[in-house]
Subunit: 357 residues, 2 copies
């Protein structure tokens, strides 16, 4: 059979293309001297492949203050409060459009919100989702944590408990993780863990993965499914899209920006390579079915696809959805965009498939 | 409940952060004047998150001759032959390492290769995969079409029929599609369509999708599953990563490069927006379960994820795998890279799940 392949080569010989062949093969055998690829500057338009709502979000300038890098929990306070205020303005409209209500509560000493949709379909009656919000471990305290929980409850028809975990300057690593675990442990006392899913994006995506590692350490049962969105799964700045999507992602902008600064403050000297801060370095055997979400412009696209491959290598049922032209976590920026509905309905379908009834 | 949200707002008021709030909210409400984002030039290193084999491929310079744009089928000949010769050099080693053999054949007048692995596991004995090779509708004639078929047969343990479809200057649109359909129709005369899967990358990924559209038009049964890899699903240059991954993808390099030129020659004046050339514009209802493959640097990442979302919107079971730092179709460049094994074993698992036994 190898003979027939070389038959192909013989056909080529009489074409006397040896010079061209040599040029092609020598070029493909070379590597650049230092392995660095020089990518020229670009003007990047808003693509016409997204909804008008999403086009508006994609067309926004780089996040204001992306390169402001507070060094302590106290220095973060004014930025945290300003960002929260901007988010809170949108919450009342979301509650109304998504037909959900919110109640403040405390669970074994941890602050939380219970988000309940007006209508819970029969198959979701006994199911509960646990939400870990994003914000680089420093942003989105109190009601500012809510948007993603509201999207999930509204589009998915699930009861959601959103954990308002402690953050700097109130507390540091591993406070956020501990608060998530406290609520999870409380929840599975009364609810079959197979009827529980954990989800969250960015730091919340990392916390979702960290909680699975911690639950394994502590001998706790796994939930029925998880949905880490664009997880901060590697906070050591390792991953190709930290470079390729820098200055293109208009939310995170750069691995040397505000989000990294927030994480360093939260870690307070703790090793960033600890799997409880960079879960990509953890052992994912035995993880529950997982659905991951990202966007093509997401600075954390590598963080997301690396987790996907690692889960698959550990034989975990894992699905990936990547949205056209979206920067970091833009799937939960506008509840009126069809892309948001698509993203959360996909997660809801995945949960419905994998959670016990 | 809205009351508790506004409680959060009242807490903020006494912090007198109104000026900061105003700055944040006004910035996030602006869009750039013309919606264009200015991304500065970058030096992009080879990431340390891939295997040494893949690092070598990622570190290669931009494809030699990426901006050579032949305008006729005849002008393509020397480039086609030179590229094929470079590929053929690697085929004997692949046959040996992947433990597969190849036989040349003709099926209802269409040239094809039958690729058979040394060992076919029991569940795959009655199953057959149909392979449509890539190459912008002009490249990879004869045995140069084989590498992806060899990877699939070797890593997956399937018998593969690889269609050596007609290309310019021998024939033009819709010759490649017609040849694929001829082989498919012949195959399903003797094999249950549910035991057949169709796969291919780049133009082969597009042809895979185009064949499903054509099969629907012709009232033919769908195969059991398909695996379009980084499909040329939109050849009208629409899609965000045509811009964002330009000059970063070291294989295709630019939407104005050789691959686009090849497609234009094949189309020979036919409307590029025809779903039989740009399947993204086709109706995907009733498509079989689909697994899609791409990479974070792939110029066709948008082409891939847009198909994924469109399939899901049509309620098709569809999975996506995206590989760290890979440019266009680099998952079948080196059969010794663990990433290649991973990609094809994932596709094989998907086929095993969805094909009839």
């Amino acid at each position: 059979m190898i003979g027939s392949v070389f038959g192909g080569l013989r056909r080529l010989a009489w074409l006397s293309l040896l010079a061209v062949v040599a040029a092609v093969t020598s070029a493909t055998a070379q590597t650049t001297q230092d392995g660095q690829l020089q990518v020229p500057a670009k003007s990047v338009p808003v693509p016409n492949t997204v909804s008008p709502q999403l086009a508006k979000i994609i067309g926004m300038p780089l996040r204001n203050g992306w390169d402001v890098l507070p060094k302590t929990g106290e220095e973060w306070v004014p930025i945290v409060q300003a960002t929260a205020a901007a988010t809170l303005k949108n919450v009342p409209g979301m509650l109304e459009r998504l037909h959900v209500k919110v109640e403040k509560t405390t669970i074994d000493g941890v602050r939380a919100f219970v988000v309940t949709p007006e209508t819970i379909p029969p198959q979701n009656q006994g199911r509960v989702l646990l939400h870990m919000h994003g914000g680089c471990y420093v942003l989105n305290p109190g009601e500012a944590a809510l948007p993603e929980a509201l999207f999930m409850a509204g589009f998915g028809g699930f009861k959601v408990i959103s954990v308002d975990y402690r953050m700097p300057p109130e507390a540091y690593f591993p406070a956020a993780l501990d608060d998530g675990m406290t609520v999870y442990k409380s929840l599975i006392k009364t609810t079959d863990p197979k009827k529980v899913a954990v989800f969250g994006s960015s730091a919340g995506g990392a916390l979702t993965l960290e909680m699975m590692l911690k639950a394994k350490q502590d001998g706790l049962p796994m939930p029925g499914a998880i949905a880490p969105g664009t997880p901060m799964s590697d906070v050591t700045k390792v991953g190709d899209t930290f470079v390729t999507n820098a200055r293109l992602d208009n939310v995170l902008v750069s691995p040397d920006g505000f989000c990294d600064a927030g994480t360093v403050v939260y870690a307070k000297g703790h090793d960033l390579k600890d799997p409880l801060l960079s879960p990509i370095y953890g052992d994912m055997n035995g993880f529950p079915p997982t659905i991951l979400t990202s966007g093509t412009r997401d600075l954390l696209l590598s963080n997301t696809v690396r987790i996907h491959r690692k889960l698959r290598a550990a034989h975990v049922e894992a699905q990936l959805q990547v949205f056209e032209a979206q920067s970091h976590a833009q799937y939960y920026r506008d509840d009126t965009s069809p892309e948001a509905k698509d993203a959360f309905e996909e997660i809801a379908l995945f949960f419905d498939k994998h959670l016990a009834k």
